[in-house]
Amino acid sequence: MQILYFAWVRERIGVPKDVLATEANTVSELVEELKGRAERYQIAFSDMSSIRVAVDQELAELNTPLAGAQEVAFFPPMTGG
């Protein structure tokens, strides 16, 4: 699975993406798994109310299932327009 990070989430984690094989069933489980990798992930994901997520390029929620998903992206609230 490809995990992408944007804006300050990318800056805090230090890389724009990770590629990993995961058993996580939901976005929440994936976040917990990532937090176990290194402290910088714990810092980036310390306040999940300020994180938005997309699964396969569609906005999703923390409880969104990951079955069959190819790409998950984490980013701050969007500031387009």
């Binding site: 944007f6 390029q57 992206a73 609230p77 969007m78 500031t79 387009g80 327009g81």
Partner: protein, 147 residues
């Protein structure tokens, strides 16, 4: 529907003229353009817009489709830039064409409200030599509730 995500600048007047020229039976065109604004301290040196390339185009097309399904519209145009911008440059534009103005105005407002908090773009400002991410405004997220 015309949706473009691009790095290069666009000319608002040219885009609006072209958008009007390709319409039939349209009595109303509403356009909105967001431009790079200075900070209260007037120290903005540049703006950088990051985007999620694989998602941005599809997200804007989805928002445009929702507007087309909801109001009596002839057409919609959305252009959104990414990359480096300077003061007063156009960041984006939306345009709606309709037989009557009520639909054109309402759909343009809807497009802007959705685009603000549902399209994957992030603004960063260079102020006095320091880059800072622009925070999202709670009013922007709350604005979706009216639709």
């Amino acid at each position: 529907m015309h949706v473009r995500v691009q790095e290069e600048p666009f000319d608002l007047g040219t885009e609006v003229d072209q958008f009007i020229r390709i319409q039939d039976n349209v009595g109303a065109v509403v356009t909105f353009s967001g431009v790079v604004r200075d900070t209260p301290a007037q120290d903005l040196d540049a703006m950088e817009i990051e985007h999620y390339p694989a998602m941005a185009q599809a997200a804007l097309e989805d928002i445009a489709t929702q507007a087309l399904n909801r109001w009596s519209l002839a057409d919609v145009i959305i252009i959104h830039r990414f990359g480096r911008l300077t003061l007063r440059e156009a960041i984006m534009m939306v345009g709606t064409a309709a037989p009557h103005r009520q639909d054109a105005f309402a759909a343009a407002a809807f497009l802007m409200d959705y685009l603000k908090s549902r399209a994957p773009f992030w603004k960063k400002e260079l102020r006095g030599g320091r880059w800072e991410w622009v925070s999202s405004r709670t009013e922007d997220a709350e604005a979706l509730a009216r639709w």
